[in-house]
């Protein structure tokens, strides 16, 4: 394996060989991709959003085509935290020897904390990413990520439940992303992940009805990249926490741009679904892209686009 220190980054003491992290919900629990390539080349990956109870998710269709992107309305389908700990993580251990990011979803402050407490005991987990931004579930998910007070409550509760670094994953569907990020920082968050998907809708012209059974869904893909870069830039200015940047990233150039905006590491989401080898390709092409832009070490460019 190519251990190029010029690519290595760090998130709250968690050392990553490179900043490339497949995003939650686009990489399952890892082993579909382990059949395709050695996933140990990744910095880490964020596993499928996990709730306390198992969930089947929303009715189908859950997927819609968009210009330069897609909608999804999966609705946090997952086997529940107990099955993740007892079945998915042992399976993952056979194909992935690095620390994984545990993505946690929930419908109440208590549920987030209970799930995080169980995951706290898993040595394979490097940090916990708290999804307070899922647009596809009712009475949970995004409702915590669109109100600074609720975001702070979830942050504090999860922090109390675990000793692992806690990253709050924020929704772009807000008028003031900085207020939410600051509320998380004040409540003790160790880092910020952003952005989750943008709430969207498509209508089928033949049926004259929404394409998605759930009507609305989360918009992701290369089209959302400028929105993500803007929000990472704004949050970097306002908080001192490390940021995992994501939203439409699909090339080594995008990774560099996201890091210049302020991301310490970068997640790749929808692009994995279209090209299952995209993360491998990005890792392999990063050195050439760095050379092209005169970058010797990725750590040096984090937040590089900011003045002073």
């Amino acid at each position: 394996m190519n251990k190029n220190s010029a690519l290595s980054v760090e998130l709250c003491g968690l050392k990553l060989d490179n900043p490339i992290i497949p995003a939650s919900g686009t990489f399952g629990y890892g082993y579909e991709f382990a059949e395709l390539y050695d996933i140990n080349i990744l910095g880490s990956f964020s596993f499928k959003g996990t709730t306390y109870e198992p969930r089947f998710g929303n009715p189908t269709p859950r997927i819609a085509e968009c210009p330069a992107g897609m909608l999804n309305s999966i609705g946090l389908q997952n086997p529940g935290v107990h099955a993740v700990i007892n079945e998915e993580l042992p399976k993952l251990k056979k194909v992935f020897n690095k620390k994984v990011i545990a993505n946690v979803g929930g419908f109440s402050v208590e549920e987030y904390a209970r799930t995080a407490a169980l995951l706290d005991e898993c040595e394979q987990i490097g940090l916990i990413e708290v999804n307070i931004s899922c647009p596809n579930v009712h009475n949970g998910g995004m409702s915590f990520g669109t109100d600074p007070k609720a975001a702070a409550e979830v942050t504090a509760a999860v922090k109390k439940a675990t000793t692992k670094p806690v990253f709050m994953k924020l929704s772009p569907n807000v008028s003031d992303i900085v207020a939410i990020a600051k509320a998380c920082e004040d409540a003790g968050a160790d880092g910020i992940s952003l952005i989750n998907t943008l709430l969207g809708m498509r209508i089928d012209l033949r049926r004259k009805k929404p394409v998605l059974a759930n009507k609305m869904g989360g918009f992701s893909g290369s089209a959302v990249f400028p929105v993500a870069v803007r929000m990472v830039y704004q949050v970097y200015e306002a908080v001192k926490l490390p940021i995992i940047g994501m939203g439409g990233v699909s090339s080594a150039d995008d990774v560099i741009e996201m890091m210049l905006a302020g991301a310490s590491a970068v997640q790749i989401g929808a692009a994995n679904l279209v090209d299952p080898f995209v993360c491998k390709d990005i890792i392999e092409t990063l050195p050439a892209a760095m050379a092209k832009y005169g970058i010797n070490n990725l750590k040096d460019i984090i937040g590089g686009a900011h003045n002073g």
């Binding site: 686009t26 990489f27 399952g28 579909e32 997927i63 085509e65 897609m70 999966i74 290369s222 994995n272």
Partner: protein, 248 residues
């Protein structure tokens, strides 16, 4: 086994009303009938899943109906064009379940996977009957090709303009003798079939997919053994696994 590569179109032509056949050259991942390809097309973000009709060591062929932008774009592609395709996706039909006299039942755009399935069964020495349902005479395809394999073929058309008037279930008479069934077609056809079939069998499902290889949970379906991914755990499911509830 999933394989991503660039494949060259060697043929792409209309074979029936709104139905096109495309042949592609290159090493692929197909091992079983009923698997599918997921095709990247210029101007579209998501790939488009199309079931495989036939494959050999040199390449594979797809038959598709133009139903939306993806298939319309496909129908305009010229020979010699290269396409980025994920091949070898999905579980495919279990030919070992067939017994001596398997019955294939397909409707409309569900007919294509029946070709490789029939060939595989015949190679195993099975006596294969196929019932193919179409709307009208100009929609009929693959009849001659299946007959050439040695399949006993029965055709039904809804308007009676060709062969027997009616639906596939009208051809599934009491006298029809079969050991197992395999089917591919629209959901209303499945609902009619399941009321008249005399044996166990396998149904192939379709759904709007995100990835096509099991990562996104976009195409989930509830089964008797829990939630399954149509793209990865399916698209073919045993009749004993399917819950014919309100969602189906």
């Amino acid at each position: 086994m999933l394989k991503q590569d660039l494949y060259t179109i060697t043929e792409n032509r209309r074979i029936a009303n709104g139905i096109f056949g495309m042949t592609l050259l290159g090493a692929h991942g197909f091992t079983k009938p009923g698997q599918f390809a997921n095709i990247k097309l210029d101007g579209l973000y998501l790939r488009r899943p199309i079931s495989v009709c036939d494959f050999d060591e040199n390449g594979f062929s797809l038959i598709y109906k133009t139903v939306g932008r993806g298939t319309e774009l496909m129908s305009e592609l010229r020979e010699g064009t290269s396409l980025d395709i994920l091949t070898g996706l999905g579980n495919g039909y279990a030919i070992e379940n067939s017994g001596k006299k398997p019955l294939l039942i397909a409707g409309g755009s569900g007919v294509p996977p029946m070709y490789k399935l029939a060939e595989s069964l015949i190679n195993e020495g099975r006596e294969v009957t196929a019932i193919l349902g179409f709307n009208s005479k100009e929609d009929v395809y693959l009849e001659d090709e299946l007959k050439a394999l040695g399949v006993r073929v029965r055709i039904t058309t809804v308007d009676g303009s060709y062969a027997d008037k009616g639906f596939v279930t009208d051809a599934m008479t009491d006298e029809l003798d079969y050991s197992f069934f395999y089917t591919c077609g629209p959901l209303p056809m499945y609902k009619a079939i399941r009321k008249v079939v005399k044996t166990e069998g396998q149904y192939s499902f379709e759904e709007r997919m995100g990835c096509g290889f099991g990562a996104c949970m976009g195409c989930s379906m509830k089964t008797r053994s829990g939630g399954k991914r149509i793209c990865k755990d399916g698209p073919v499911f045993d009749s004993t696994e399917i819950i014919w509830g309100e969602e189906l």
